[in-house]
Structure formats: C-alpha cells, structure tokens
C-alpha cells in the first residue's frame, strides 16, 4: 500500500499545471464561454502534440498508453485549472473505440484523436432526461446496408465542433438494456442539425436532431443490440474522470478561499482569524481528504482491471455533492467579491452544477450504489 502520487505522477501533474497556467489563463476560460466554438483549436493542437489526447490510446495507435490512474491524476490538474471544450468527452469516448472498436475503426480514428485532429463526442441523453436504458428512444432502423437514425439527442458535449460522434440508439422495440446499439458516425453527416443549449457552465452542450441520417452498418460500434455494456463502461470511466476533474476544482476553490481568508482584513484582522470561517475551511479540508482517496481507489481499481463499478458510482455520487457544497461555501466565504463573474470562484461553482449530471446524477449513482451494497 502506498497512497501517494508517485514521483512520475507528480511530474505529470506539474507539467499539466504549468502548461495550463500558461496556455489557458482564466481570461481565456471566460472568453471561450461566450465563443461560438467554446474551445481553442490552437490549444487543442498543442494538447495533441503533448500527447494529452492520446493518454489512454495504446502506443500501437500513436497514443501514450498511460494507465487510467495517471489519466485521472492528469485530469485532476485539468479540473484545477479549468479547460474549456470537449476534452474529457473526447478522452472518455475514446475508450469505446479502444475497447469495442473494430481494427478498422481503431486505425481510422485513434491516431487522429491522439494527434488532436478529431473531437469525439457522445450523443446519449434525450429530452426525457433519464440516465438509464429506458431513456434511449432514438430509433435506428435497418434499411439495406444502412441504419437510418431519427430522433433527438440532448446535452451532447461540443456536438457543434465534433468530428465524430457516438450515437446511442435503439435498434429493437422495447425500453430495456437489450436492443441498444452504438453508432460511430461522422458528426457532420447529412440530416444532423446541431444547436448549442445555454447552460450554467456555458459549456456548449448541444441539442442534436437526427433526421433520416443514414449510417452504414460498418459504423456500428461493438455489436448490434449490445451497446448498453459499452455505454455502461463509458459511464463508469467517465464518472471517475469527471470526478477527478471536480476534485481538481475542489482543490482550486479551497486554496483560493484559504489564501483570501489570510489576506482579506476586516475588523482589524484577516477574516481567516474568525472561528466561524475557520471551521468552514476545516470542513472543506475534511471534504478534500475524504474525496481524494475515494476517487483514487476507484481509479486505481480501474487501472488494475478490478471490478469497481460500486466505487465509481460512490465516487461520482460523493464528489458531485462535495463539489457543489464546497464551491457554494467558497462563494459565501468570499462575500460580495465571490459573486462576481470577474472572480474565479463562480467559474467553479457553475461547473460544479454542470459536472453533477455529466455521466449520471447523484441520485442515479446512489441507486447504482444501493444495488451494489446488497439492497434488494
């Protein structure tokens, strides 16, 4: 047992930190919130060059082949700094190709993704807002060599700038887990209409309308009707990585708040001398500690290939709530200044709400936890 970041991991984290501090200052974060694209293509290119987009891609496909745990630690730094754009989506969705793609699909897309030439998103949720299999109603009908997709997907991260898209569709009647198929398609295919939804994090989630979109059968990802387990895998890994991002954000807000409390003077003393505020910051610290090892236990098990769907759901459910709570506290401890969009704390506060439903809400994951702790 050794619950420290390894030396190599510390280096990995530091290099991510240094890069983002330089290349993605908060001014850029703010700018990109109101930018049509919502991400910086030049920065994306640089990330590709650094290998950030190929961390989890095997070396055979021009990736870095890092461990899942390394990836989580890297994303912790990404969350600490904030990085606008569909970075985490692309990384998470890549796992679907790595684990379920055909050789052709891998050869075609993995090097492109790794080199920063392909943004990959996932069209999963629909307007019913459900995370379980019954939420999938978009129809894919087999016609000749094609499947024809009709329906609407919601909250698709960066669909308007994505090159490729994994679409979760129903290929059989019913509402269960069987009969769901994933399609790996060109995001610009004919019949696709994309519109950016205004969200609290201004993170460019999209509505994507599919009208008679023809997809060749070879673009099925995995097996027909058997897409749900792949999606579950994405949800599990996405939950851990999204939590890693949130955990980074938690730390950033904690550090800013403690620093501010030491510096801001009221009633002739730094406000950090007030016990009521001290105890809230101590609670923040406690939350950081409990979040950290819960997260890395799940990430470590994922790396080791051990069963961890319980731990992944626990992590997501716990850190979802921690992130919202701590960022709200951060705003309040800063007082007025913490409520201004000129300040950094609200950037995290708004993202905490957004993070909360990505890859499943707290209540969704608690239900998964209930099942896995033996609640019949």
């Amino acid at each position: 047992m050794d619950l420290r970041y390894s030396e190599q991991q510390e280096i990995l984290k530091k290099s991510a930190r240094d890069f983002l501090t330089k290349e993605c200052p908060k001014a850029k974060v703010r700018e990109l919130e109101n930018d049509a694209k919502g991400y910086d293509p030049a920065l994306w290119q640089k990330m590709g060059e650094l290998g950030w987009l190929g961390f989890n891609i095997p070396e055979d496909y021009e990736g870095m082949g890092y461990s899942f745990e390394d990836l989580a630690m890297h994303i912790e730094e990404v969350g600490k700094n904030i990085l606008p754009g569909p970075y985490i989506s692309t990384v998470v969705n890549t796992f679907a190709i790595v684990e379920a793609g055909t050789e052709e699909q891998k050869k075609d897309l993995l090097p492109k993704i790794s080199n920063g030439n392909c943004i990959l998103t996932l069209a999963w949720l629909e307007d019913n807002g459900l995370f379980d299999a019954s939420g999938i109603t978009l129809k894919a009908v087999h016609k000749g060599n094609d499947y024809v997709l009709n329906g609407t997907k919601m909250f698709v991260d960066g669909a308007h700038v994505a090159n490729n898209m994994i679409v979760v569709a129903r290929t059989k009647d019913g509402s269960g887990e069987d009969g769901i198929t994933l399609f790996l398609i060109d995001a610009k295919a004919a019949g696709i209409k994309t519109e950016v939804i205004p969200t609290i994090a201004l993170d460019h989630l999209c509505e994507v309308v599919f009208k008679d979109v023809a997809v060749p059968a070879k673009d099925v990802l995995g097996k027909v009707d058997k897409g749900w387990p792949i999606l579950q895998m994405l949800i599990r890994k996405g939950s851990i990585l999204k939590s890693a991002e949130s955990f980074g954000g938690l730390q950033a807000v904690f550090e800013m708040t403690v620093a501010y409390a030491k510096e801001r003077v009221q009633y002739d003393r730094p406000i950090g001398a007030f016990q009521a505020l001290q105890h809230k910051m101590s609670d923040m610290w406690i939350t950081l500690g409990t979040s950290k090892y819960l997260l890395y236990e799940a990430a470590w098990k994922e790396s080791e290939g051990e069963p961890n769907s319980k731990e992944a759901s626990m992590t997501k459910a716990y850190i979802n709530e921690a992130y919202k709570l701590i960022t709200a506290l951060g705003v309040k401890l800063h007082g007025g200044i913490g409520t201004s969009s000129d300040h950094d704390v609200p950037l995290y506060y708004r993202r905490a709400k957004a993070a909360d439903t990505a890859y499943g809400s707290t209540d969704y994951h608690r239900e998964l936890v209930a099942q896995q702790i033996g609640m019949k």
Binding site: P198, D268, A276, Y349, K353
Partner: protein, 394 residues
C-alpha cells in the same frame, strides 16, 4: 395570539394582489428573476412602470405620517411586499422606499423631508446606496473615501462598491469620512447626491450569471451640497444605525419562495418520469414537503416581524432570522430544484428550460440576499451579540 387580518386588511390584500396580478402580465420576457430590474433597460423600464402604478395608488408611502403624504399602514406595506414577492414584481425602490424614506422620517431635517419624500412617493426619483468600499465590506471602519467641507459644499473623493442599481439610479445616499481627526463613530457624514453630478463614474461589476446588478462608483472631486446632509455633520454613523434599524420583513423574498413551491408542485404533477408523474416519487414528495414546512415556518415568522413593525416595535432579531433563513432556503431550493430537474437543472432561461429557467436562476441569484444587506455571517454575529448577549470577540 391572533393571526387574522382585519376585514380592511383582507380587502386591501385582495386589491393589491389584483393590481400585481395585472402587472405581472406586462412583465417583459427577459425578466427572469428578482434582480432583472437592474439587468437591462427593459427590466428597469418595467420597474419604473410598476413603481408609477404603485405610486398612483399611494403605495410607495404606506405607513408614512399623513403630513408627508403617507397612506395606509405598515401592514399594508407588508401586504404589498407579499404580493410583489408572489408575482416577482419590482416597483418598490428598496433604497428609496424601504431604507431612505424611513431614515429621513426619523433623522432628516424638515427641508430634506419636504424635498425628497414626495419624490420617493411618486416614483420620480430612484436611489442607490453608496456604502461598502473595497476595504470596508462588513466593517465600515475601513472606509477611506473622504468628504472635505468647503463652505456649503463637500468635496467628495473615493471609491464605493457593490452599489446595486447605481447604473440606473437618479440619486445616491452614502457615508464619507468627513473628519480625518474625529473619533471613531464621530467622523462620518451621511449625504445625498445626484448620480449625474460631475465626477461620479459608475462601472458595472458583472454578477456570476452575467447579469448587471452591482457596480463600483468612483467619486472624483464630486461637489455635494451640505443641505443634503442627513442628520448631523460627522454623525453619519448614527444615521447608518437608524437606517439599519429599518429592517424589512423580507416578505417579498418569503412569498417568492411560496410561489416557487407552487410552481414546482405543478411541474411535478405534470412531468412524467418512467411513466409516472414526478409527484408520485416518494423522495420528491418528501423533499418538497420538507421545503414547504420550512417556507410556512419562515412565512409565519415574517408575519411576526410585520406584526412588530406594525406596532412600532423593531423586532430586529426576528428580522435577522427571517433574512438568514429565507435566503438560505432560497439557496437550498436552487439546489433541490436543479437536482430534481436532472440534466435540465443546468439549463438557462431558453426554449429548452423547464420552469422558465427559474431553478438555474435561483441557483446563482440566491447569493444576492445571502451576502448583501449584512452577510448572513454578520447577521449571526448580530443575533449572538445583541440578541443572546454573548460576548463580542475582542
């Protein structure tokens, strides 16, 4: 105890609700929540429109002495706040009507009362507050802006901050250090000024959701007339305390919660999830019921504050309780509502939004009542020190 409104009050309440219900229909689409009155021209115009409608009926001078144009009672004022809260309407200038007017009545010269009270009552003049400074938030002792007397004028210099609505306000009221050698609490002067005065510069501080509520106000050699002093020269601290004494019942915030609950219940009844209305989910029922209990609890306490104000008792500690409890309930509601909306919880006012985007709006706007008008932390200090008599920290 007697919780019953008099027949007269019931009639008045009905009248007020009717007027407000009509006004609500004229609300511009961009008006998404309680701070929208400051956010854009349309919101401010609507505020002025409502204010004129209220003024016409004498409702901006409720509870004032007759000699200054007063009509109705303090309870009527509470009823108006209630209805405005329920319909989420602006129209009552929090700075002019709620704070300055009672302060002028208590501490203003006859001259200044005769000049400004009619303008407030008629909604001709809207005020803003020039109070906090970058280094004087909760603690006014850190104030550095100065007012140097020159004959009948003060030359005022400094920077104020967190000035709600200062970008639209006609006049401001503020405190400035007027005696550099004066003892603490005897070195400030409370003065009114026209916001169009030379040397006044207003710069917006964007709120976290991008809306324009707060401002910084820079004062560079602004001439303020000594006739606009409220109270005595160098005794502004006393006036500040008088003003702080006019705590509001926060009935508008409370009835905003009442309305939010009603709307949420309707939403749950109408929204199906897994083939069943959301309202049949036991967890949803439990959470909304819990919320409803808290709302009713604070509603009754707000009425106790109103009851006290109506008999010229101040009820400051109860008012502080209402402020803290209601604002934190709003925060909690923002959390619960956005959570129950699932992925839709994050959607801003738009064609995709549920409940008109109010959940996302409250999720951010809740901090306005929490950190303003004395942060909730300060309110808790005040309750501990003055209400419970616990020793003040040294």
């Amino acid at each position: 105890m007697d919780f019953r409104l008099t027949e007269e009050q019931v009639a008045r309440r009905k009248e007020i609700y009717k007027v407000c219900e009509e006004l609500e229909k004229k609300k511009p689409k961009s008006y998404v929540g309680f701070e929208s009155q400051f956010d854009n021209e349309e919101g401010w115009a609507f505020h002025r429109y409502c204010a004129k409608e209220f003024a016409k009926r004498g409702w901006l001078a409720l509870g004032w002495p007759k000699e200054y144009g007063g009509t109705g009672t303090m309870m009527d004022k509470v009823l108006l706040a209630e209805a405005r809260g329920y319909y989420d309407l602006p129209g009552s200038d929090i700075f002019g009507v709620s704070m300055l007017a009672p302060t002028l009545l208590a501490a203003g010269s006859e001259e200044i009362k005769r000049e400004f009270l009619p303008k407030i009552a008629s909604a001709e003049v809207m005020f803003c507050e020039l109070w906090s400074e970058p280094n004087a938030g909760s603690d006014l002792a850190g104030m550095t802006s100065t007012a140097v007397r020159k004959g009948d004028e003060f030359i005022v210099n400094g920077q104020k901050t967190w000035n709600t609505g200062a970008h639209y306000a006609d006049w401001g009221f503020g405190v400035y250090k007027s005696d550099p050698n004066g003892k603490k609490h005897h070195n400030l002067t409370f003065i009114l000024n026209n916001m169009k005065d030379k040397g006044v510069t207003v710069r917006g501080i964007p709120y976290m959701n991008g809306s324009h509520v707060y401002n910084e106000v820079y004062l560079d050699d602004v001439d303020m007339s000594a006739k606009y002093i409220v109270g005595q020269e160098n005794e502004g601290w006393a006036v500040v305390n008088v003003l702080a004494g006019f705590e509001r019942s926060n009935m508008d915030m409370v009835y905003g919660l009442v309305k939010a609950q009603e709307e949420f219940v309707n939403f749950c009844n109408e929204t199906k999830r897994h083939g069943k209305p959301l309202s049949q989910d036991p967890m949803v029922r439990n959470k909304i019921a819990e919320f409803a209990c808290s709302i009713e609890a604070v509603r009754t306490l707000a009425y106790r504050v109103a009851d006290q104000q109506n008999r010229n008792e101040m009820g400051l500690m109860d008012a502080a309780s209402v402020k803290v409890f209601a604002s934190e309930l709003l925060e909690k509601f923002g959390q619960i509502a956005t959570d129950l909306l699932g992925p839709y919880g994050q959607v801003k006012h738009s064609k995709w939004a549920k409940l008109n985007g109010s959940a996302e709006y409250n999720y951010q706007a809740c901090f306005v009542p929490i950190v303003s008008m004395g942060t909730n932390e300060i309110q808790r200090n005040i309750i501990a020190w003055y209400g419970l008599g616990l020793p003040r920290m040294k």
